[in-house]
Point group: C2
Chain length 893, copies 2
């Protein structure tokens, strides 16, 4: 670290540059960079972030020599600007602003107009020829400085201002006459004296030091600390401070202020995009009191507006030229703040522009064509997470409608529909083509048909990996979960939010992007899938090393996933196949049979076999010769039985058995902790007929397809394995059935048999398990549940508090917990490969579609990730990012 | 491995010895050893176990040269015994018996009387002067050989025998005349010819080889394979075969046969103990058709009996002398089989005697005093697991009563009482001093008062670490769980076992040692705790390195544990403290308060504080200056609320709030998987008032005690920590309360703050967690649940199948799963010490009282184990074993 702590900029050159973000903060680094580029930036200097840490941690003491450095820099600024701090004739005014390595908007303090006192005000009046303007500047300085630096509460100032307005008969501060403002300044100073026992500092240097100290200290105010905790920003980064000469856009008609993007940040089209206000200050633009005008003729929507291009064509052209230079220099779209003071254009800030996903894609592709970027860089410029937005119908973010409540944004996209409270109602209304939104306290497998029939799903409990959320995301259906403000009353068929009542049949809109729930129909907009998108994804595919598979249970899902670029199925769940109305009764027959009644059970399984065979044949057909991993039944048997008395009676009647039999069986299957109970391969071992039937269906379907000339290599996946013995026994079962079917059919079928790694013990003993597994697929949902001891269905009750307190900065069900769960995954990969070097490994939990988790999967050498169809493009892009960032690290080494 | 495969013994010397158990099997090694000691053993030879493996694995082929070795050994036997195989005048008869490295009783085959045919029978008749005896031997040979070697089913032989008995007008084989027996032999041979198409082998050599082949093959019969799987005996050990000259105890009044122990195996007293039958064969003793007589005068109970000491004083003295030599030689109590043939004493087998725990203790201490053993050996001679028997009232194992059903032996000891089905009834009847047994399908925290009031607990579901089992063991109360044959009908107040109905008020006996449930009152016997026991435990304490703590929640438990030798409390649960009738209403008040009603919650906590303070003061007092680890509340809040409508209504009425409020709160707190839900430190973080109250109670109680002059260092344990942040936040909370109380009281209290490691993630991130923990306590119950993904409450539904199939050879909740759970524990120990070398570590799960798990805890360097009071002696002894076996390994290196 160099000893230098103050870096000047202005007059065509700067001591810093854009690469010094860690020292100068983002704002300061860019101000220096622009200065060096010859762009007109008001002169100033940046005090490095190291000083902040030294100051904040060292009981408010500045390092030795800092004062001299600051004064030397100040002299330089005075020189360049041709004004002097405290000079009554020609006063230099300064702003002091924070500027950290990453933007922390609104978190820290700013003080403007420093340098004004009863003597320099005269110079400002003279310079501006506007006494009202000058006293308003002075009034703001006293008020802002007192608040930020001296800690005097706003209240007394505001009270007096209100009094002054009412005296003057005006409603806005801006309409107060100069005379009144002068009186206000005096009164404000008197308040300061009363509150602090000291007069307001008249000495401009004292003002500057006061502001610097206050801004440094604001790094450690509560809200900034919390913001950093939430955004994982280290406390010891500190903030730099920018001290810059003030310029004013409100010095008459040849002054103006504006904010503009070098390209359209909404759709990415190549045209400047922004707004400005003539004779105004930056604050006026932000406050929204006056309606701003468009930058360019092209943006003009009515003749009432005057674009900057028309009003100040010279400065406009100058600005556009700067835009070009900034884009070329930064090789990215810029978000620029500017002020025109009496015809002189000043650039006050530039930074990379925030943009929509659509815009990001188009800009990346365009800039590559324009030669600014290569394809690698283009791919890296688009945030994989944002891709999700591109694929779902969206609530128009422009609508200002107040939402009723806000839950967790479980599955993106917007949905508008009538409220229903039961799956039956959802199916019934949907049959009449009525769009519905299913509202439940939570959903279960029983509700699946109703969920499918609905346009969107809203639940009052559950997290982003609850049943509702997982199912909805799998289908790309908008979903808001854990919306705890709503109380669902099934009996009254309504839900309430405080006093507000929403009844069955009322229309609501849910926004799966923001988690918002709104009464009535908000406009939805179509997601544009463009040639830009396809091009960028093609580049991404050429870089990535991970294969991308999808989690799909039906031929339709499989086809959709292929359109999105899936290269196989990583997880085909077989649960829902038993819930279809033609199968559920047979399944129930089997479950309700007395354990010793093998004939009845076998008969039921025989009836299920052709259905299952068709299920698998359909999926194999849809996937052509891509790999398909089928997970054998995972759900506990009680999920297939009704829970309430009425449905049990129904079932008994239909099956012609005593209702007590049903009740007894349901009671017997009931579990305290079904998550930790009799499910997965445990069912496969105790009720092996089910797995035998499923394996037979898989192998027969494969034979059928091979008979049709297709190439099929089914992968059978055994869920919830915790001991090598379980897998060994079930592997033998699978192979036994396979041999039998091959003998019957005379068709050779290769079948791979592997396991989910989703129980911690499986990861810990992966070396043993790998000896009898052809592949591992990490079921990171359950692995996360068991590693943390969290039930996804129950954690809503404490997870908000945990997030607020920083215990769970990230939802471990959304982004893989690398320190804990990831450690188990990494261990399993290493142990698995130690005994079986050719072991295929992938991940099929929700994390397969999360970019940070995909990066981790790449880094530990998995072969593929598998995710829901709608997340496939996200995963493709994330996998490309992972490969490219590794390349970059490799190149750097 | 040497090339030698056949080892002869007899005539005063043997080629093998007792150290060759791996080669010769247990029986063969001891026969050789006895021969070398000069003890009269019929001559014979042992074929090594290696041949078994070669034969069984190599398609029934013997290794080259074996035949010659066998014949050479045979010649030696003929020489020593002075008879010849197949010699019609003086035939040698042989037995062929298996004999593996460890005893596998009844698992493999035996053939006796080999060498008989139509010509040698004459010699036997002559030698025995008993034609009936000789033909009965011949009949047995044909029947046994045909079954074992030729695979002819018993059925036709038995059918013909029945026919012959009815022809002869007798009911027992032994009463058949010689003539009939000769006819039977002929008929049997005819059956063999019909069934096998070949005549019965007359050639004695062919008979010998047939028997050898069959016994080797019996190593791989299903029942033997299963037995080995259950007892973890490697398949490749194989069995040795002992071929030995037959001797007969039924050749008249100067012949006899007997089985005796060199000391009393029931109480350990130093006197021979056994029984014999004059003029009889070993089989007769086993079959129990004739009542045997006692060995010694001292054992004689009536004048009808003649002891061996009286009947054959010379042979008795000879036998007693051999007993002395065997004990001295083997340095252990022996279980000896002998036969006296026409006045000549032969020893047929010796092995270490099985004994009760009481006997084991006394024998170990006595033998040490006698100079046979040193204290180390004495300690190692007593199986820690067996110690448990010594401490509980027991069902007299002598009663032959048939049990109704059998469940899992969850907590040892016997209990007799009236059946009740509800906790309320249990409390009510117990108040009237009626002994009761609480019978439930399963138990929960609601039942705790009723469980406490009962003498024993019986449940139809649940494993040995279910709620019922854990609670019962904690109190040393007999308990049988998972007794799935019984069906509990709460409505009818009865349980059924098949057609058998047991009603409320009926008396049953449960045997927590065997898992038996019997109708009526079986006699119970008192456990004798002797000076021997105390002496042995003192020796154990001098060797062990692990400290032994106890899990105790009350001063009474704590005192009992101290009597058993506990050195501190490793786990003081605080749940039950809130269930007492004077506290539960206050707890419920707090839980039912609206979340925002802080005043009401605080008021309830203020009311609970003095109770908690007294709880802790009582325990501190009982433990004097021993360490006490108190776990803050772990249970989810819903456990404190009623579940059924009636009790909810009751509660609402008593609390004067609408029943809907209770229902809503109960519904809101209900969880899908409570095990993975809102409990442990999660409650401490979301409802921090509870923990603040508990910590205040702990610190205030400590201050009170210190005021009384005691030394108290409370250890506060935070449950269910999964992230370092949780512990950090709660550590600060504890320290904050501590500071406040210290400020108020002016008494300095040192408080250690640590955590349970019971969530896999805690083990995985133990290095981070150790940075803010003073100690770790492994909660291996929950850690096992989460590592396997097993709910202790639900696994009964598949665990039997898992045990049968060898998936779970040991219950991982009883014995720590070293491969999986143990790996996490070891990892946590290493990671924890890596960042905090002085970290104190112990275990407080059920495993703390399991010897195999204690051994593991020792091996990874834990500081202590903690277990229920009744297991403390088990743990002390197991810890000594661990230290001594480590010493032994150390010495060997």
């Amino acid at each position: 670290m160099s000893d230098k702590r103050v870096y000047v900029f202005g007059g065509g050159s700067a001591e810093g540059n854009a690469g010094m973000r860690d020292v100068l903060g983002g704002k300061g680094a860019n101000l220096a960079e622009m200065t060096n580029l010859g762009i007109p930036v008001p002169a100033g200097f940046t005090i490095s972030a190291d000083v902040c840490i030294a100051f904040a941690r060292g009981s408010q003491q500045y390092p030795d020599g800092l004062e001299a450095e600051v004064y030397s820099a100040l002299a330089h600024v005075e020189d360049v600007m041709g004004r002097k701090l405290g000079d009554p004739a020609n006063p230099l005014l300064l702003s002091v602003r924070s500027g950290a390595r990453v933007s922390m908007p609104g978190m820290m303090d700013t003080v403007l107009n420093l340098g004004l006192n009863d003597s320099t005000i005269k110079g400002l009046i003279k310079m501006s020829s506007d006494e009202r303007f000058a006293y308003d500047c002075y009034r703001r300085l006293v008020q802002m400085y007192s608040d930020v630096v001296l800690g005097v509460s706003h209240d007394r100032f505001e009270l007096f201002l209100r009094h002054a307005r009412s005296e003057a008969g005006v409603s806005r501060d801006i309409d107060l006459p100069a005379e009144t403002l002068r009186g206000i300044v005096d009164r404000f100073k008197a308040i300061v004296l009363e509150e602090t026992g000291k007069p307001f500092p008249d000495d401009p240097r004292e003002q500057i030091w006061g502001a610097i100290g206050a801004v440094f200290s604001s790094w450690d105010v509560q809200r900034a600390v919390e913001y950093r905790r939430i955004h994982s920003i280290p406390d010891d980064w500190g903030t730099a401070i920018n001290v810059m000469a003030m310029v004013f856009g409100n010095l008459g008609e040849n002054s103006a202020t504006g904010v503009a993007f070098t390209r359209n940040p909404s759709d990415g089209s190549k045209a400047p995009f922004g707004e400005y206000l003539p004779n105004a200050q930056g604050e006026d633009l932000v406050a929204g009191i006056r309606t701003p005008f468009p930058m360019s003729l092209a943006e003009k929507k009515s003749d009432d507006q005057t674009s900057l291009q028309e009003r100040m064509p010279v400065q406009y052209q100058e600005l556009i030229a700067f835009f070009g230079r900034l884009e070329e220099h930064y090789r990215d779209v810029q978000d620029v703040e500017f002020t025109i003071q009496e015809g002189n254009l000043w650039i006050l800030q530039t930074r990379s522009a925030k943009r929509t996903a659509q815009a990001a894609v188009r800009i990346a592709v365009d800039m590559t064509r324009e030669g600014f970027l290569d394809k690698r860089e283009a791919v890296l410029r688009v945030d994989p997470d944002s891709i999700d937005q591109i694929l779902h119908k969206q609530v128009d973010s422009e609508t200002g409608r107040q939402s009723l409540a806000r839950g967790l944004n479980a599955s993106p996209g917007g949905a508008v529909g009538e409220v229903v409270f039961t799956a039956q109602d959802a199916v019934r209304r949907a049959r009449d083509k009525v769009p519905v939104i299913l509202v439940r306290s939570e959903t279960s497998a029983d509700d699946v048909a109703g969920m499918r029939a609905s346009l969107g799903i809203l639940t009052s409990t559950g997290g982003i990996t609850s049943h509702a959320a997982v199912v909805a995301r799998g289908w790309g259906k908008p979903c808001v979960v854990g919306c705890s403000a709503i109380h669902v009353d099934y009996e009254k068929e309504e839900f309430t939010v405080g006093a507000e009542v929403v009844r069955k049949g009322d229309t609501i809109t849910i926004d799966g992007h923001t988690g918002g729930v709104t009464r009535g129909a908000l406009p939805l907009i179509d997601p544009p899938i463009t040639a830009y998108f396809r091009e960028l994804m093609g580049w991404a595919d050429s870089f990535r090393k991970l294969k991308i598979r999808t989690n799909a249970d039906t031929p339709e899902d499989a086809e959709r996933a292929i359109q999105f670029g899936a290269e196989g199925i990583g997880l085909c769940r077989t649960e829902h196949m038993f819930f279809a109305s033609d199968r559920l009764p047979i399944m129930r027959e089997m479950i309700l049979a007395r354990p010793e009644d093998h004939a009845l059970r076998d008969e039921a399984l025989d009836k299920l076999l052709p259905f299952q065979r068709e299920d698998f044949a359909g999926i194999f057909r849809a996937m052509a010769d891509r790999p398909v991993t089928i997970r054998l039944l995972d759900a506990p048997l009680h999920e297939f039985l009704p829970r309430d008395a009425e449905r049990m009676a129904d079932l008994a009647e239909r099956m012609k058995i005593p209702v007590e039999t049903v009740q007894k069986r349901v009671a017997r299957l009931k579990e305290m902790n079904p998550m930790l109970g009799h499910r997965g391969c445990r069912v496969g071992i105790t009720n092996s007929g089910i797995y035998r039937m499923q394996v037979r269906a898989i192998v027969e379907a494969a034979c059928d397809l091979i008979g049709e000339g297709a190439r099929v290599t089914p992968e059978i996946m055994i869920p919830l394995v915790g001991t090598v013995e379980e897998l060994q026994i079930l592997r033998e079962l699978c192979q036994d059935v396979q041999r039998t079917v091959v003998g019957e059919r005379g068709v050779e079928v290769e079948v791979r048999i592997g396991t989910m790694i989703e129980v911690p013990r499986a990861a810990l003993t992966a070396d043993r398990i790998a000896e009898v597994a052809d592949f591992f697929s990490f079921g990171t949902n359950d692995l996360t549940q068991l590693t943390y001891g969290y039930s996804r269905d129950d954690m809503w009750s404490f997870v908000r508090v945990y997030q607020r307190q920083g215990i769970l900065p990230r939802d471990p069900f959304a982004t893989l917990d690398i320190a804990g769960v990831g450690q188990l995954v990494r261990m399993a990969v290493e142990k698995g490969r130690s005994t079986r070097p050719d072991l295929k490994m992938g991940i099929c939990g929700e994390h397969g579609g999360d970019p940070a988790s995909v990066l981790f999967c790449h880094s530990i050498g998995l072969d593929y990730v598998s995710c829901s169809p709608y997340r496939v493009p996200v995963a493709r892009l994330a996998a490309a990012h992972a490969a490219l960032s590794e390349e970059a690290v490799g190149a750097a080494v």
